[in-house]
Each structure stands twice: as C-alpha cells, then as structure tokens.
Symmetry: C2
Subunit: 488 residues, 2 copies
C-alpha cells in the first residue's frame, strides 16, 4: 500500500510509523505491530502507531530513525506492507517450550532486541520462557556475551579497573558513592555506572543527580574517569549492553527477575565498562530479593559465569532485613552519604556496610593484605581522603548550584506506645517513598529516626515524612496506617 | 509534573499520551509504559508515546479517549505521574508461577485487558502463563464468562440461534458462506461473525469483503439478521468479547494458541451473539493445528465448557490433510463458493464438507431427524435456495459493484514429471498466498488444479499463481522451489 510521507519530526529512539486509522484497518495492523516500509529497494521494519487526526488517510509519518535510513525525498511515496516476524521469534518459541538455545539462537534474539525488531510483547515471551524454564550455564554465558558485544565497550590503559554491584532491593542502601570514593582514593580505577530507581524510592543515579549531572556519553565518562579515577554515572544513556535495558523494562512490568538474566545483565555491563575486578553484594532477608539459601546458589552461579570471562569476582552475602541509613529518597539519601564522608553524625549502619564493601575490594585487588581492608578503608574515610575524592568526582561531573533542601511539607509520625522495634518492612518503606513523590520529587521521602532493635518511648518520633504535595502526604499516611510497616 | 495540553486529534481506540523526549527522560518513562494523568481530581491511566518534535517539552497531546474522559479546558494543564501497575499484574504473576486463579482474579485480568490498563507485554505474560501451566476447567469457564460479559451481548426473540466455528488452519477451507446459506434457507437464524486472516492467506471476513461490506455495528448486524435470518460479518468491529481480540493479537506474535484460551475465545464469542446451538469443526492432520489425538481431547473440553453455559454443542473432527477447494486468496475463494452455490462446476471437496457441516446443524437443531441432514442440505443447495439466501444476505450487507477480477499477473506452474500426488503442504500453500499479496491484494493468490491422490501428467498445470506485482510473483516462485509443497 502506497503512502505519501508527511514530515512531523517524530522519534524516540526506535523506528515508528504513524498511519491513519482507516488505512490501519485496511492493512489489518494494530498499535505496536510491525510493518515493512520499502523505498527504492531499501526496506526497514517499523512499529505502527495509529492516529485519527494529524494525517490524511494516504499519508504516513516516519520517525527520524526510518528517514535517516531510507533517505526518501520529501513528499515522496513509500510502500507499506505486513512484515514477517523476525526469525528470533522461533527461538523464543523454542525457549517457551523448554528447549536449550544455541549460541546463534541467543545472539539472534539479543540482536533483534537491540535492533528494535522485537516488540515488547515478544520480549515478554522471551522473559517468560527463561523465567519458567531457566537457562543452563552455557546459555547464560552466551546471553552475557551477546549482551555486551551488541553494545559499546570501553577499554583502558590500566588493568586495575574495579566495580561493585548490589542486586538491590534494600531501601536507603546508598553505599556506592562512599565505596567508590574510598576505592578511588586508594588508587583504584572505578568507572561506576548505576541505574535509576525501578521499584524503589531512589536508585543511585537518582541520588547522585541531586548534586550533579549523571548522563554522559562514553567519551565524557572516560574523561571524568581519567581525571579523577572514578565516576558516578547513570548507565542508561551510555549504550552498554543495550539489550539489557529493554529486558529490564519488560521484566519490571511484572517484577520478574529470572536468575540467569540477572546474572547476564550485571556481568555484561561490567564487561562493557572494562572491569577486571567485580564485587557482588547479595543482600538477603525476608523482604530482600532473595533468602539466604537462594543467595548462596546465586553467588555460585555468578562466579561460574565470571570465570568464563576471566573476570575476578568476589561475592558477599549481607543481611538485608531492614532499610540501611536514615534517609529514603534522593536528597535524604545523599545527605546520609555526605554525613558519612564529612564525618559528621553519620548513620552507623550505612558507614559500616560501605567500609565492609570497600575493604573487600581493597583486599581482592591486593591493595592490602587479607584482613587489613577494613582498617585501611576506615582510615581513608576518617582522614577525609574519601570526601576529597568524592568532591573531585562531583566537580568533574559538573556540580549543581542548588542547595540540598528538603520538601515543602513534612510530618512527624510518633510512636503510639513504648517498646523495642521488632521489624521494619523494606518494601512498604520503598512504596511510601514513591507515594510521597520519589524519585521524581527529589526532596521528598522519609527519614527513619529508629531502626530494628532500637527502644522507642511513646510519643517519640519514628519517621518524618517529606512531600511537595499535601495530597501525597495524606495518601502516604493512609498507606502507612493500612500497612503498619514498623512492628514493636 | 505539569503539562500544557496541545490538541492534535490523536486516537486509536485507547488512551495514549504523547510527551516530549526530554520530559520522558525526567519522568523515566519509555514508549509503551503507563502514566497516570490527573485533571481536577479525575485520573486516567494512559500509555506513553514519545516524540522529539511536534510538541514543546512542556506540552502533552492526549488521545480522544482521554480528552472525552477528563474534559479539560483547551490549553489547560494536566498533571502526569508514574502509574502504579494494575492489581491484575499480580494475578498474572501468580499464573506464571503455576497457581490456580480464582473467579475474581480472572475477571480482574480480563477487565484490565478490555480497559487498556494492561500493556501488550503484560498480556504476553498472561498468555505465557496459561501456555506453560494450563488452566483447569473451572478457570476456563471463568475466563469464558469474563470475556463475554465484558463486551456487547446480543439477544433475540427466538431460541433457534445457531452458529458454527472451525478452529482453522486449512487453506481454502471456505465452507462458512455455504453452510450459513443452507441453514438460513432451512429457517434457522445464524448471526455468523468471522475473523480476518491471522496467518493464513485469507479469513472468511476477507473473502466475504470481496463482495460486500463486513464491518457493522451491533444494531446494523441485528437488522441484517432480522431481515434475512443470517449475516456474514467481520467480528472485529462489533465489540463482542473484546478481550479476546487483544489476546489473539498478542498470541499470534509467536503463533501461540493455548488450549483453554482457544476454547474460551470461541465460546465467549458464541455466547455474545446469543447462540444456543454451536457446531465446532476441528480439522486434524499433519499440517493442521492439531493431530487426531489432540483433536479428541480438545473436543471433550469444548463440550465440558459449553455444558456449563447450557449451550447445545456438537463437535466434529474432520480430516484436514490438504487445502480444501481450488482457490486460495479472497477472490479465488469466493469464486469457489459461488461455483458451489450456483451449481456450476463446484469444487467437490468444498461442497462435500459444507454439506456435511450443514447436515450436522440441521440434525442437532431437530430441523430433521438423524441421518437425514445430508439429503436435506444437498436438496437446499441443488434447488438453489441456498444461492437465493446467500444473495439476500449479500444484498442486505450492501453488495459491491466491482467484478471479481483476478490479479494482473498470473503464472502457470506445470508438473515436471507424471505421477500421483502424495501430499500438499497446507502451511506452505498459505505462506505462498501471503507472499503473492494475500489478504490485502484480494485478487492475488493461487489456484490448485490438482489435489492429493489425483494423477498428473508431465506438463499438466499444477498451480496458477496470481499477483498484482511481478516482484511478489518472483518471490513466490522462489519460495515454491525452496519448499516443494507438492510431493508425488
């Protein structure tokens, strides 16, 4: 079917064709389906979007990705036909039927994810197949390899590239900026990239963004690392293991996190930034992502895949039974981080965990002998060398002028009886943060005055809530009363 | 985050919000994800589409579905925030984990599919869950009930509403118009709705559309049926069991067809049009959708679900080992149908199957006694009462003026040796039809001069190919030579 091109400046990182509803009916295509667009012998697959106005029925609007590929003359015609499904859908079908995939088959799937040839629904089928039927060690290795090879890869002049990763799930657990500052101050190179929040109140990238820019090109990132020995960047805009970003987006719809994909995703990103040493932190506990038994198995699988890629890896299991630090929310968390670095009334649990993780990295890279890591890390922190390094990194990334002000409205929630705190529900605390406006409203969130095992007197402050909106504050309090996340 | 509304006349049957790339980044939303749009206390969930031009960064364009719900003043502001996932995603997760779903849980999923609250990726997770873990009889009944109750339902003054359905997969198998004409001529009421092609060269709706309109509103459909006793309509625009249309769209991405969803889908649509008697045709064979063993099991499950809804059902298993009729493609197939109805050189296999199916309906509705159905059906056909009824229906639907011309280019493929035909591959024949331009180019397709067990002399015509394009013709011939669908 012929369509006349109407230029509209569309584009969102993938090939999209806007067509009129009446023609879509004739073609029998629906929103989100694929069509093949041909122009003078060149063909490209596009995802359909349907409009009722905006275009005449014989017009089509093509996103920049398509225009730059087909290079049609303005107001010329393109031919639109039904697209055959990409071959990789057959391999996804195979995985759904519990068959092992070959290296080529896994590469084909990853390739089609990166090239936007697979729709999100097809990616969901792949995730389900892996979730239901698992992947062998071999398949996990192929997936890892395919993921990092289909994206940008950094290389460095030194071999001492270190990295850390936590599988996440613990509210407030903002050790990364502290660990990076300690390790870089000790002379290690740490090109750290982090994600934004997926289901929690804040991700490391959201927190750092309260102070500085976090979205860089690979070259900018290299410059920052060459200058300071480290960075605290957002991983999303860098193009490392790009298939992974799409997989995560589809996984999070249902909160799925198939083990082999989790492992492949983390290791692929570490390989892409050129890491040689990686510390993996697996918090376990009742409201963490895994319990202790699964944490042990997961750790072993991480090590098996890392070994294949000659990546030196250490796995630590840490107790993740309550939030870490006092602040939950971007600005509240960066304030905790600064308290630790500035040695002014630091949250003890956050400091302790950061020093522990840093000590592991110092020991595995032979920056010190076994057993000495904690002392050295503590020393770097106490001497404020870590603070100095942190400020270097933030300045190199472009420090923002804004002060770290908290949100307009706050509310102190007080204990209605005395007693010892038995448990604090991580997940509810994260949800509370989101209801209050996190991570978009950086100044919103909550401040925990008490932790598990603390003794509280009736009328003492338990939590302070922060929000930019009275309505969100009200919703958060209602949610708190419904869920009672703090048990005495 | 506040956005100013820019009116653009967008709309494609679901709530879509267009936002600028820069703001999407700040909100951390991607194409196809959900946001919540609020205006003066009213909230609606929308799917995000991202543009680079077209809008300023603080502008938003909302599809008509959203505007008609929120009724904002022109150029006023709406608030956009991240949407919490709908509750039904938890139930989908449950099914992926092989748990039984309750009636309320299944209703919640179907409801959210109909309301566009679930993305296609989430629907894919549901399909995978059912595909991997199956559904009990109870779950299948709940699914059926939820599907037909969330859509339009027709009611009639008579109880003699009959219907037929083939689970499909056989090229050329266009019995429906003949069966409907015979049964309606016998005095039964048959509000038949059909689908367009999904993976085959043509669906019944595509074929009928060569002669007449097929897209009606429920009221138009009722008028046609009240006037003629039957209709031959497209089911897609009528709003019967609307969740099913979306499920099928997602299923077809991978060619999945979970048994319980197949059963629920068919029975829900029959209940929605008010059927009291339904004949189910299950073609089996090596390239059909099922083999004989599975056909038997499937038939029993159909009967169990139908019984719950007090639907009188008969299931017939028919041999589907080769295409039926000579023409494959919309116009080529309607020509076969007309030959049968006009009693002029009809394809014998098509006639025989149509008479058989009609006989079953006549017997199950007690229009005749057991064993007499075939004679009566044949009589209605031979007397041209069926032709008369067919013409009434087509005229009531609005007969098109265009003659049934075949495509511009044709090519006769001849036998390169003599012998008896052993097999004809159904699937390849369907694919050939699609390559030649079906179902969009209605005049394209293929004509089979021979069937299985026919004796062919070297040089005799085997197939005539029809296409509107020389290129497609060439591609089809190459595909034919690669796949060799006819074996001697």
């Amino acid at each position: 079917m012929k369509f006349k091109i109407k230029k509209l400046k569309l584009g969102a990182g993938r090939p999209i064709a806007f067509i009129h509803e009446s023609r879509a009916k004739e073609l029998n295509v629906h929103v989100g389906e694929r069509v093949q667009i041909s122009y003078r012998g060149n063909k490209i697959i596009a995802i359909v979007d349907i409009v009722r106005g905006l275009l005449k029925s014989d017009e089509i609007s093509l996103s920049e990705e398509i225009l730059s590929y087909l290079k049609p003359k303005p107001r010329d015609y393109v031919d639109v036909g039904l697209a055959l499904e990409p071959k990789s859908t057959r391999f996804i079908f195979k995985k759904l039927n519990n068959k092992q995939l070959s290296k080529n088959e896994i590469y084909s799937i990853v390739h089609d994810i990166v090239n936007n040839s697979l729709t999100e629904a097809e990616i969901a089928y792949f995730v389900s197949g892996v979730y239901e039927n698992g992947m062998s060690l071999k398949e996990t290795i192929y997936l890892t390899e395919a993921m990092f090879r289909t994206g940008k890869i950094l290389s460095w002049h030194t071999r001492e590239i270190v990295d850390k990763h936590s599988i996440g799930g613990i509210a407030g657990n903002r050790t990364t900026p502290i660990v990076v500052s300690i390790c870089a101050a000790a002379g290690l190179v740490m090109p750290k990239t982090s994600s934004r929040s997926i289901t929690s109140a804040a991700g490391t990238a959201d927190v750092i963004e309260a102070l500085t820019r976090v979205d860089f090109s690979p070259n900018e990132l290299k410059n920052i690392v060459n200058k300071t020995g480290a960075c605290l960047a957002w991983g999303g805009s860098l193009g490392f293991a790009p298939a992974d970003d799409k997989l995560i987006r589809v996984e999070r719809l249902l909160g799925l996190d198939p083990e082999s994909q989790l492992i492949a995703s983390i290791i692929a990103k570490k390989l892409a930034v050129g890491s040689k040493y990686v510390l993996i932190d697996i918090p376990y506990g009742p409201q963490a992502k895994v319990n202790k038994a699964r944490a042990i198995i997961l750790g072993k699988k991480f090590l098996a895949v890392a070994k294949h890629f000659k990546l030196k890896m250490r796995v630590v299991l840490t107790l993740g039974d309550q939030p870490i630090g006092n602040g939950i929310g971007p600005i509240l968390e960066i304030r905790d981080v600064l308290k630790v670095l500035e040695r002014e009334n630091p949250p003890k649990d956050l400091e302790k965990k950061a020093v522990f993780l840093a000590s592991q990295i110092l020991e595995m890279t032979n920056k010190c002998s076994k057993g000495q890591g904690a002392d050295i890390a503590q020393q770097i922190l106490d001497s404020k060398k870590a603070l100095k390094k942190f400020n270097e990194i933030i300045n190199a990334q472009g420090r923002k002028k804004n002060p770290l002000k908290l949100a307009r409205f706050n509310y102190n929630l007080k204990a209605n009886k005395s007693g010892k705190i038995k448990s604090i529900n991580n997940r509810v605390i994260n949800n509370l943060g989101r209801i209050l406006g996190c991570p978009i409203d950086k100044a919103s969130g909550l401040y925990l005055h008490k932790h598990v095992k603390d003794y509280v007197k009736k009328g003492e402050k338990l939590i302070t809530f922060y929000s930019e909106s009275r309505k969100k504050m009200k919703e958060a309090l209602e949610f708190y009363n419904d869920t009672k996340p703090i048990l005495f």
